[in-house]
Symmetry: C2
């Protein structure tokens, strides 16, 4: 069979990795696909640097649009990132009837509905395994491997930067700022780490996972997002003493009233596999009604792991690129006409357990007052820990049973205004997960 | 589009689960596939029992061959197990040009090459996700999700019975016999547990994983197999004190000289995720040259988890059942004409680290003699632990660096014949895995 012709837009870290994997493993890949996959054109900003990597035989240009419109090319791989040029090129590729492979989670999180709709109308595939959890084939697992299931929930460590920072804070007892500086020095965090540490990157990925799991539109704009920059090392230490680890989790769950879609630091029992995912690694738990909980673990970023996912998508698309669209796996797992618009649940209606920490004056009656406010708000306490702080104060930690977050917020407002409460009340969510 | 018509051979535990998942999640599945998947005929031994499950509208028969030969039926799902009737029915289904979904690992491990060859000649798919690690989509991960990679090794806990027994032995400190009796009482082990506890079932699955990972024929007959029935609780306890857990692992690895294919109890560092897979759960680590190590975890057996995998295969096959064979994913991941016959490595040539335990007379010179024999055989010692036993004896544990198994065996023969050695030398392999 003839070779599949690919146009590569962007040849930075992931683009370069994709080139290396496609050429380095060309034999192994062709043994699987039955035909070669060949990059025939590359769009690059630095043509000299690109030339050194790809050699003389590949067409190089700064003009991605000329690749997108080249009728010789079967599949477009978009790895330039960002939302402006990437969006134009992808939309034009779809208009040209070309299949698209991309790692661009920010673009898909914000403009995925428009992109996937256009692709469905043209009968082309938009594949994005590399957009979530790097090389881990978790999108394929949800979309195909668990296709028999009504998916119940997905919970994952889907940002390596924050997981690295949290691991360092726990193991070495350092502050967020110190761990971040380390992560930057080692290349795990960018110079401006906002998107990672504030949970935005994880929310991009989570909104894609939610769409794949439940057959709903991509709704990044409705995700609840809290990062880890405010997280105190004391809470990591307290959590550890109580048998928990704190991870930045993306959680999406189907409940009777709607879909939960939330990213926040979360206490997980220390014996859970997810609690033991350390450093920059990623892991995603997916629970289906037939299969029960399943976990997928691996490197969530980096040149070659991400390229592994890009090339896996290329292999899938190459196999089916000339097939009838009815034979294709839908980009978002569900048939475009079978998507449903289940509402995203307000955080007030989310039910979770809570870790609450506050500093109070150490005098009789304090605990009774706190307990009464919590109980009046339907929050039942699982356990309580108290330790003296200085001469006159005490730190109190409550671990609650499951409660509505709206009730918790109302109770915390009351508690915060009590005269004997001397600190902001720290409120972290807890997930049992299995 | 018209509904896909399925013939179900066998409606025991997994067959019943398949029926339940297909009917219970019919809506969710059709939202994904774009067409219904319908069981139109069932072969059962107990027709009355089957009738109660499937109702009045489905054709029931004891004669599986009549289903296999029914021209109305698109896909055959074989869930009768065993190797005689199942093999005949599958071979006839292929001859009839029908696609096959099966969970029959024993059959595929022994007769897979014949079955896959016949399927390739007829251009039909034989899908078997349910044959390995139950509901975990690990076959799909290796075959498709990691298609960009040269797979380096696969190591997995792929038998829930033995993992349950080993967890019980470690946590409760009981003997193999006690843990097995518990497992039988709870339904995790069969009345005749030989296939599970002696590692045969794990080797069936491992030989399929090796074929998928490396593009080699299925070679169960060449697997090295050791079970856990001889494992002493002392060794589990010693391992734990030294920071290891003992798991029954299936390991297959590509080395310069050939493919390792081995099932045996294995010491794993306790902090590894794989070491923390407890109870009847399964997990498989797959390492590729681009992606690095990845892990897949979930329930490896049971009615609904296994049915989840059967139905996922059905969805895949249903999508492509009318497509050109060139669009299909090859059953064994590699194109049939691209399989290579890399030799399976003799155990003598396998390189591993070793845990050695022996009882000796506690007198000067013993350790020197042992150390010299090991050193003469090119086995270098990483650490040594000694504890007195009674008045005159001592137990010695060596942990070795990497060594050739042939060298270890030679050394152990010499050690075993020494006059001061008072026990059989216990030899367990250790894997670092990451």
């Amino acid at each position: 069979m003839s070779r599949i012709k690919v146009g590569l837009l962007g040849i930075g870290v992931v683009g370069g990795g994709t080139w290396k994997v496609l050429t380095g493993n060309a034999g192994e890949i062709e043994r699987r696909v039955g035909r070669g996959i060949e990059v025939v054109a590359v769009a690059a900003r630095d043509l000299d640097k690109a030339r050194r990597l790809v050699g003389e035989t590949v067409r190089l240009t700064e003009d991605g649009m000329s690749i997108v419109r080249d009728p010789e090319i079967d599949i477009i791989v978009e790895l330039v990132g960002g939302e402006s040029v990437a969006r134009e090129w992808i939309m034009e590729a779809i208009a040209q009837g070309k299949h698209v492979v991309t790692a661009n989670k920010a673009l898909l999180a914000k403009h995925g509905n428009e992109i996937f709709r256009a692709a469905a109308e043209k009968g082309v595939m938009v594949a994005f395994e590399a957009a979530v959890a790097g090389g881990i084939p978790v999108i394929k697992a949800i979309r195909e491997g668990l296709a028999a299931n009504r998916i119940q929930w997905v919970a994952g460590i889907i940002n390596g930067t924050t997981n690295y920072i949290l691991s360092e804070m726990r193991v070495r007892g350092v502050s967020f700022e110190e761990a971040l500086a380390d992560a930057q020095r080692l290349g795990y965090a960018e110079a401006d780490p906002t998107f990672d540490v504030e949970g935005v990157d994880a929310a991009h990925k989570l909104s894609l996972l939610a769409s794949l799991a439940f057959g709903i539109p991509v709704q990044f704009d409705k995700a609840h997002i809290e990062g880890i920059s405010e997280l105190a090392r004391e809470d990591i230490a307290h959590a550890e003493r109580l048998g928990y680890r704190i991870k930045l989790l993306g959680v999406t769950r189907r409940s009777a009233k709607g879909i939960e879609l939330r990213v926040h630091p979360t206490l997980i029992p220390a014996e859970r596999l997810l609690a033991n995912v350390e450093g920059a690694m990623n892991a995603v738990l997916v629970s289906g009604d037939a299969v029960g909980p399943t976990l997928y673990y691996g490197q969530g970023a980096g040149e070659l792991p991400t390229a592994s996912a890009v090339v896996a998508d290329l292999v899938d698309v190459a196999r089916l690129q000339a097939a009838d669209p009815g034979h294709q796996v839908p980009s978002l797992a569900f048939q475009p006409n079978a998507m449903v618009d289940i509402p995203i649940l307000s955080m007030d209606d989310v039910v979770s357990s809570y870790y609450l920490r506050l500093r109070v004056e150490d005098r009789p009656g304090v605990l009774a007052d706190l307990a009464r406010i919590l109980s009046d708000s339907h929050i039942s306490i699982n356990s309580m820990f108290q330790e003296p702080h200085g001469e006159a104060d005490a730190d109190i930690i409550f671990l609650s049973h499951q409660a509505r977050e709206g009730d918790v917020n109302r109770a915390l407002e009351k508690i915060q205004s009590l005269p004997f409460v001397k600190s902001r009340v720290i409120r972290l969510r807890m997930e049992n997960l299995l």
